[in-house]
């Protein structure tokens, strides 16, 4: 029987990561590993209070310490020119670095010590003495809900049909769900090397998800001409959203480099990764569902309260999935943020939807038990055949296939509707599912191609690769388009001077940059055909879609006799290379269709009845992300998402001491990301049906939907195993005994 969908075994055969070898052998140099002549090292001094002011800063001992070249703080900063242009009274910006004596959160950078070695800088930093006028900090979300505000950019609460319609329904669920703050904790800590090549020329080697975004922000901050700022970010060891913006430590490195007139390297300590580069914000949600006895939803009310900092409004799409996922006539949502003495959160993998889906998909599961209805049946009873929010057709939606494939793979028929009914020895066994979705986006990008007579092709784009295997995917797209074997194609990225690309975030890289690869490949083919036509008339009618490279030849597949050696097509003016560029941008498809990727996660959880320990035994995720371009890296990316979702469900929680806002578990020993022993057998399945409208490859986004829905699937499995409904993550053993 022929099948289109991809399973684990299908992916084994696909192209391996093209930069895998340099990564595992250590040949790939990440920012912190880059060495430069005369490199100096910056180490941050942080506030140890959560709110108040610095009244005295004694840097004398630090300045006299061996090797120390500068101690920079608000007292002597060279200054960030952009700050002077901003209204000093309105703090709705990124934390202004070393701009005043004010402390907004515990762990705020207040000084940097620059020395000739890292150890001397660390020692110097330990000698800086700070005196504070302490204020009273507020960091607890639950205790400060009265401070909740509607974000300035939100005009009004969302309403479709009538408010609180769930109250009219025969079956109701009304519950509160909380998600603690979570740290991104990529393996590679945030790192930067900054140097001023001239008084008006800045170069950075930096961990970032967008070299051009970082360059633009730095140019603006330091009032430099954009072409005088260069950002190199060749390898990024994971980011998950934490490198989507310029953070204070990056501004500090630039200031320090200005002060010492040498390159400054600044690498965050693992602990600083917990509070200096964003986090998924602690969020409290209230969800109410109302349904008729056949499971048809009549109304959903959904409220969200999330943390933000005192100086900046952070918002995310917690409620977006509730508005579009199911065919429900009445929906009202309310989104609030609570300003507290914490640093500003950041988008974290599946931003918003990962949080919102936890509440929505758990509430649906609760409803399924009240209705005595299978949770998949309940979702199918409310299946949306078009986007009920935008009232538009989906560009593509194969969610029913996802439910079906996954149910077969995990053996959904083994699930008993009665919680606690399945037992293996001392372990209770449960099954859970949840759905995930995330918008499928496409932006604009450019691409440069350099083709040589030996048949090699170099592609260049400013896009980052934070781990999904961008170069691999782009290589496959080019190879499939042209017929040039993958070994002859190389893809360079992570450099702000390369052609335009967006940040790598929000699952849009393949759609955006992949489209530019297709465009540049087509341009290359058309240009070569034009040159071929001068030698052979039958090339005059060749179009990109029928032109292929075969060995040393270019072939028009419509004209079998057309074969021509491409080496003969290089003109006298550039005999050694042909450089082609292309731009690609979305059209008006956004106005006609609603674009989303979908996922369904199935979890088999075993819960020890005496100790409350949860072990995930099996995870099956079925994904509708359009055509899968690079099956092996897609599988890897999906596995990472499932692991992140398991961490969200079972182990991860950033804890603050609300007496002073300090992070209690900042270290990798105390903040529990899942370890190998927590990872179950994982089976990824891709429906692999083309999306006809988003881009030429037929792909949609993948990076987010592989985490969105995992945590509720785990919580639902735990309920099915035990009859215990845990509405506050993570589900640690203490909550189940």
């Amino acid at each position: 029987m022929s099948k289109k969908h991809l399973e684990n075994a299908d992916m084994e055969l696909a192209l391996s990561r093209v930069d895998g070898r340099v990564k595992v052998t250590g040949a790939a140099k990440y920012t912190a590993e880059v060495q430069l002549p005369e490199l100096t090292y910056g180490v941050l001094v942080e506030s140890t209070i959560g709110q108040g002011m610095i009244t005295a800063l004694d840097t004398k001992k630090a300045e006299r310490a061996p090797g120390v070249m500068a101690v920079i703080s608000h007292l002597n900063t060279p200054g960030v020119p952009e700050y002077k242009l901003q209204n000093q009274d309105v703090i709705q910006k990124q934390l202004r670095v070393f701009d005043s004596e004010n402390i907004y959160f515990n762990g705020q950078p207040i000084a940097v010590v620059v020395a000739d070695t890292l150890e001397r800088a660390q020692y110097g930093a330990s000698l800086v003495k700070v005196v504070y006028a302490k204020g009273k900090s507020a960091t607890s979300l639950e205790n400060n809900l009265s401070r909740a505000v509607m974000p300035k950019k939100t005009k009004e609460d969302y309403m479709r049909g009538k408010a609180a319609a769930f109250k009219d329904a025969e079956f109701q669920v009304e519950e509160e769900y909380t998600l603690p703050s979570e740290a991104h904790h990529p393996m590679e800590p945030h790192s930067i090397i900054a140097w001023w090549e001239a008084a008006d020329k800045l170069t950075l080697v930096d961990k970032t998800q967008g070299s051009q975004n970082t360059a633009a922000i730095m140019a603006k901050s330091f009032q430099l001409s954009p072409q005088n700022v260069k950002v190199i970010s060749t390898y990024v060891g994971g980011a998950f959203g934490s490198a989507l913006r310029v953070w204070p430590h990056e501004i500090v490195a630039v200031l320090a480099a200005k002060k010492v007139q040498k390159p400054v390297k600044l690498v965050l300590h693992r602990n600083q990764m917990s509070y200096m580069v964003g986090y998924r914000p602690h969020t409290l949600q209230k969800v109410a569902l109302g349904a008729s006895k056949d499971g048809k939803l009549l109304g959903i009310s959904h409220e969200s309260y999330g943390k933000t900092s005192m100086y900046e409004e952070f918002t995310e799409n917690v409620l977006a999935m509730t508005r579009m996922m199911y065919d429900v006539p009445n929906i009202d949502t309310k989104y609030r943020i609570v300003p507290l003495n914490v640093s500003t959160p950041a988008p974290m993998r599946g931003p918003g939807e990962a949080t919102g889906s936890f509440a929505l998909e758990c509430a649906l599961d609760e409803l399924s038990y009240k209705l005595n209805m299978d949770p998949i049946e309940l979702r199918l009873a409310n299946y949306a055949d078009q986007d009920p929010d935008k009232k538009m057709p989906w560009s593509s939606k194969y969610l029913k296939e996802c439910y079906q494939l996954g149910a077969e793979k995990i053996g959904w028929d083994k699930r008993k509707a009665l919680p606690g009914a399945v037992q293996e020895g001392e372990w209770k066994v449960g099954y859970g599912i949840a759905t995930g979705t995330f918008g499928a986006f496409r932006g604009g990008a450019s691409m440069k191609a350099t083709f040589k007579p030996d048949g090699t092709l170099l592609l260049q784009s400013a896009i980052a690769d934070i781990g999904p295997g961008t170069a691999t995917t782009m290589t496959i797209i080019a190879s499939e388009n042209l017929g040039i074997p993958v070994e002859k194609i190389s893809f360079q990225l992570g450099n702000s001077t390369f052609p335009k690309a967006p940040q790598q975030g929000g699952s849009n890289t393949v759609a955006t940059v992949g489209s530019a690869v297709v465009a540049v490949c087509n341009n290359l083919k058309v240009e070569l055909a034009k040159r071929a036509a001068k030698q052979k008339a039958d090339w005059g009618n060749a179009v990109a879609s029928t032109i292929r490279f075969k060995g040393a030849n270019l072939v028009n597949t419509d004209e079998p006799s057309s074969k021509i050696e491409f080496a003969s097509l290089f003109g006298a003016e550039s005999p050694n290379e042909l450089v082609i560029t292309a731009d690609a941008a979305p059209g008006d498809e956004k106005n006609k269709y609603s674009f989303y990727s979908f996922s369904v996660h199935f979890i088999e959880a075993h819960v020890h009845e005496l100790t409350g320990v949860v072990r995930i035994k099996n995870a099956v995720s079925v994904i509708d992300c359009g055509t899968v371009v690079s099956p092996k890296t897609a599988r890897s990316q999906s596995m990472g998402g499932i692991v992140g979702g398991i961490g969200m469900a079972l182990t991860e929680e950033l804890v603050l001491d609300d007496r002073n806002g300090r992070t209690v578990n900042a270290s990798f020993g105390d903040y529990h990301v899942p370890v190998q022993a927590d990872i179950p057998q994982m089976q990824m399945m891709f429906v692999n049906e083309k999306d006809p409208y988003l881009n030429p490859m037929g792909s949609k986004g993948l990076g987010e939907i592989v985490i969105i829905g995992v945590a509720p699937a785990v919580a639902n499995a735990v309920y099915n195993a035990t009859g215990k409904r845990i509405r506050n993550l993570p589900i640690t053993p203490d909550k189940l005994i």
Binding site: G612, N665, P733, D734
Partner: protein
């Protein structure tokens, strides 16, 4: 980190001499805990005395009694054939601690001297009586999820983090020590101390003494033993509760039993009263439940660790079930 001197010694006497000469000197072997603490600024010795070359790296068997040298690596001891045969509990406990990388470096003596993982002890901006006597305890009214339920004082509620120590106290191990006044033996149960008014002191080891080895007397417990560690993730996490349970069974009658708990006190917590209750009784769920109730007498919880009052007896019952092999 402060500047410090590093010296390597080749005899126990030289190590003792270094400690006698310089009160801030610290011994270093695997360094898996000390170096971390130095990086965090929690400990700042002027001198590190490297004792990796004292010849304490052997495991010897004398009939059924095991002598494990102080600098034997945890990875070596936990995989040693005699340890696995005579004291499988010890191996199991060590393998539930840390990670393979850490166990490859960490030594037996160093593990005995592991310091608490209380987050406030590690955060030098927070008051901590253990780190800075008299400064106060941040944990008592702070985030104390991982903290003690037995034997705490109003100066400190930290717990001993070691898994190995829990097994050693259950096995009546003896700590062999050398010092300026000669050699002495410290029973494991007396090696660690409760915080009392001096939480800065983890053990009864004198500052000028060094650990030379650990002796584990022969017993008849190997056939029925288990180390059960309940934690927030499957590996590389400290115990919420751990229980070492080992017994000598004749049919279903408990001839001898040893029980100790980790994650509950400033020292590995031997459950003597529960042992006394079980001796001579039948291995049954009912008796295990009663023993657990006895074991929990005197337990006191704080704001975030009240769950331990239930998780501790549950874990103990499960460990007894597993060790005895009873099904019910």
């Amino acid at each position: 980190m402060n500047n410090f001197q590093y010296t390597r010694v080749s005899s126990p006497a030289a190590a003792i001499a270094e400690l006698s000469k310089d009160p801030t000197a610290k011994l270093v072997a695997g360094g898996t805990n000390l170096i971390d603490l130095m990086k965090y600024g929690v400990m700042a010795p002027d001198k590190l005395v490297d004792i990796n070359h004292l010849g304490f790296n052997e495991i010897k068997k004398d009939n059924g009694t095991l002598h494990i040298g102080a600098t034997v690596r945890n990875a070596v001891a936990s995989g040693n054939a005699d340890v696995l045969k005579y004291q499988p509990l010890l191996s199991q406990a060590m393998l539930s601690g840390a990670s393979p990388q850490l166990r490859n470096k960490a030594t037996m003596g160093g593990n005995l001297l592991q310091r608490t993982r209380c987050g406030y002890f590690y955060d030098i901006s927070a008051p901590c009586n253990k780190r800075e006597p008299g400064s106060g305890c941040s944990a008592i009214e702070g985030y104390n999820r991982m903290h003690a339920i037995f034997g705490a004082s109003d100066t400190c509620i930290a717990v001993n983090p070691s898994d190995m120590n829990v097994a050693l106290v259950a096995l009546d191990a003896i700590i062999m020590v050398a010092g300026p006044k000669g050699n002495r033996k410290i029973p494991m149960a007396d090696f660690h101390r409760l915080p009392g008014t001096h939480p800065e002191l983890d053990t009864t080891l004198d500052k000028k003494e060094i650990i030379t080895g650990i002796v584990i007397p022969d017993n008849h417990l190997a056939a029925h033993s288990t180390y059960l560690k309940v934690r927030d993730r499957a590996s590389y996490a400290f115990a919420l509760i751990s229980v070492a349970a080992t017994m000598d069974l004749e049919g279903s009658t408990i001839k001898d039993v040893r029980l100790a708990m980790g994650g509950v006190a400033h020292k590995p917590w031997r459950l003597t009263a529960a042992e006394e209750f079980l001796k001579g009784k039948t291995a049954s769920l009912e008796n295990f439940n009663q023993a657990a109730e006895i074991a929990m007498k005197g337990a006191k919880a704080y704001e975030f660790n009240a769950f331990k009052l239930k998780l501790a007896p549950n874990t103990m019952v499960q460990a007894l079930k597993t060790a005895s092999g009873i099904k019910a």
